[in-house]
Symmetry: C2
């Protein structure tokens, strides 16, 4: 979720943050190409206001690489390939560069044959899924990106975590660079949101999580502890607890994401996707690109797409609301705004990054203000 | 949603119901092949306990064909074709036979090239989406079927209906005929469920619907009237009202289904998908088949798939629950049970069918008991 700007935030120019972040990964031993990808992909999250998936995440990579849980080497193994498909083994590397490469391959295959798919196993966190789908959308293709993640979601009627936040992302181009860009966890909320509630000592709303008995819990602190020690309980799928508001649908979508990511690549699925004392959770990804001209001339398609998006954005709002959005509109507007104002970082994130930079002897960028 | 058996239900042998239903469509002037499809597809819904999409739906087809809103002729036009893709215009025909044909073509293209997609415009209700996805799953393929439907869902922060219940269905095979089979509306509930609440004078739970002000309504009778007269209000997307429980995610999925169905086929989308005084709502469908061996040997894939499904079905249930399901398990169990007991029909549905049969001079099957 997007976070509001705080008065204590520091603002940076996008290229400065990208160069800085690239430098960190290069100092950690990543190849130059992967370091550039890491910088671009992580900063793209902050540039859209999705702070949970941006530079706040760098420390996890740094710690993982230093502990030997995540590989700084990029030894990608091709497991299987056909004209339309590719299966890669990331061999425990940072998930960013390999995901950019995997989507590039899907796009390349789609350019040649109409549709391309690439699944990846033994990978790590890949940042925002929307980064990859929009690569395809900019090539007049429908882009799809999915990933499984460490298990913390509880199946409908169960009492312990089995699936991850397993996001679904899909981008579809309209005219003039406009696009529909959906990027959503299949759980109601992510762990990050629960952590904010724990810090602020707020009670969890219904439909977010269950405790060790498999029933609604309001207590974010207890929940996080129970998840950490694998005692049971966890986040609920989109649609919430039980079946009344459709929780089995979010659960079905989460499992579907796991199937497309892990079963196509032969990787780890379900509750086995977990951080342990000796390794990071080895996640799997799925990328797909579908050329618009499989169906219609792209300009016709994008004209209708523009009409659709304009229609949605001009709908009469509900009482108390000022406007109606479509998927991606808000984050793209944020990105335009931050291009002018600079990208804000929370002081806490900035302090951690400065400390990492000092340890790695990397110069730090100057805030604009 | 599945409905419980009532004591007054009548039970029939599946082949008897299929023959009966086929006869009705043939008497209405549908070609023999399409009549057989109609019988099989509609009865498959009742066979799984999904009564809303089965024989209870025959009257709508009969009325539509008699009024000239739905075409009994099947004049399918090929709009565009590539080795991987096909776009069809159903020309207002019954949506069942053309959808079976469209999925057959997607499967044929996948068999030849790895992946096949087919989108259809100007169609009508196609029954349960899961019928088509499971056709692909039985061929060692991942099957996807989507359809847009008449607008009755309200976008997040809006106050009037713009999208349909827009279901997402996906089936993935495991060993021994077992499969994962997700088939879900992207709205929290369907209109049928609200109608049941209206009949039973029950208040609607939170997260199901909004009134003409765009805010939560408890009144099913008023809601159905407001939807009928296009006054505003409607069903909520999966995740409910606003953003707290993720309503923007269900909204995003509903729009994505509309894009894949209507923008790929050049058909009608959004709030324009409506029944009118001169025509039925002309809906669009999307079918996709992906061969498992694009990724791994199918037997390996299906072995892992079986392991996944067995794991899910054997999870410890929450307090008060007796077991955990996975997508499709419940409806497939119902289908096995009804194969032995016969398929139940509600007396009201049976009375309507008998009346139609009498008008068309069709023999009616005998109930088993």
């Amino acid at each position: 979720m997007e976070r509001e700007i705080s008065l204590s935030d520091l603002f940076f120019k996008r290229p400065d943050l990208e160069t800085f972040c690239t430098g960190i990964f290069q100092a950690l031993g990543l190849p130059p190409e992967d370091s550039v990808d890491a910088g671009r992909i992580l900063v793209s999250a902050d540039a859209r206001g999705i702070r949970s998936h941006g530079l706040a995440h760098v420390k996890r990579y740094v710690d993982g690489i230093r502990a030997g849980f995540i590989s700084a080497d990029v030894n990608i193994t091709t497991i299987y390939e056909t004209p339309l498909s590719l299966v890669l083994d990331a061999e425990g590397s940072v998930g960013l560069g390999i995901s950019r490469r995997a989507m590039d391959k899907a796009i390349e295959k789609a350019a040649a044959h109409g549709i391309g798919v690439c699944s990846v196993r033994n990978s790590n966190h890949f940042g925002i899924a929307g980064y990859y789908t929009e690569m395809a959308a900019r090539q007049d293709m429908i882009g799809i990106a999915l990933t499984n993640t460490a298990a913390l979601g509880v199946p409908t009627f169960a009492r312990s975590a089995w699936f991850g936040t397993n996001p679904i992302a899909c981008a579809v181009p309209a005219l003039d660079g406009k696009m529909f860009s959906l990027d959503m966890a299949t759980t109601t909320v992510t762990r990050g949101t629960v952590e904010v509630y724990a810090q602020e000592k707020k009670l969890l709303p219904a439909g977010w999580a269950v405790g060790t008995d498999g029933l609604y819990t309001q207590d974010p602190v207890q929940l996080l502890e129970d998840i950490l020690y694998l005692r049971g309980g966890g986040l609920l799928p989109l649609g919430g607890e039980g079946t009344v508001a459709g929780g089995y649908k979010g659960y079905g979508l989460a499992v579907l994401v796991d199937i497309l990511c892990a079963l196509t690549s032969g990787g780890t699925f379900g509750s086995a996707v977990r951080d342990s004392a000796v390794t990071s959770a080895r996640v799997c990804h799925f990328f797909m690109a579908i050329r618009l001209d499989l169906f219609r001339p792209p300009e016709e398609f994008k004209k209708d797409m523009t009409k659709m998006l304009d229609e949605l954005a001009s709908l009469d709002p509900a009482d108390g609301q000022s406007r109606v959005f479509y998927a991606g509109l808000r984050s793209h507007e944020t990105e335009s705004r931050y291009t002018k104002t600079g990208i804000p970082l929370a002081p806490k994130t900035w302090d951690i990054l400065k400390k990492i930079a000092a340890e790695l002897h990397i110069p730090v960028p100057c805030p604009i203000h």
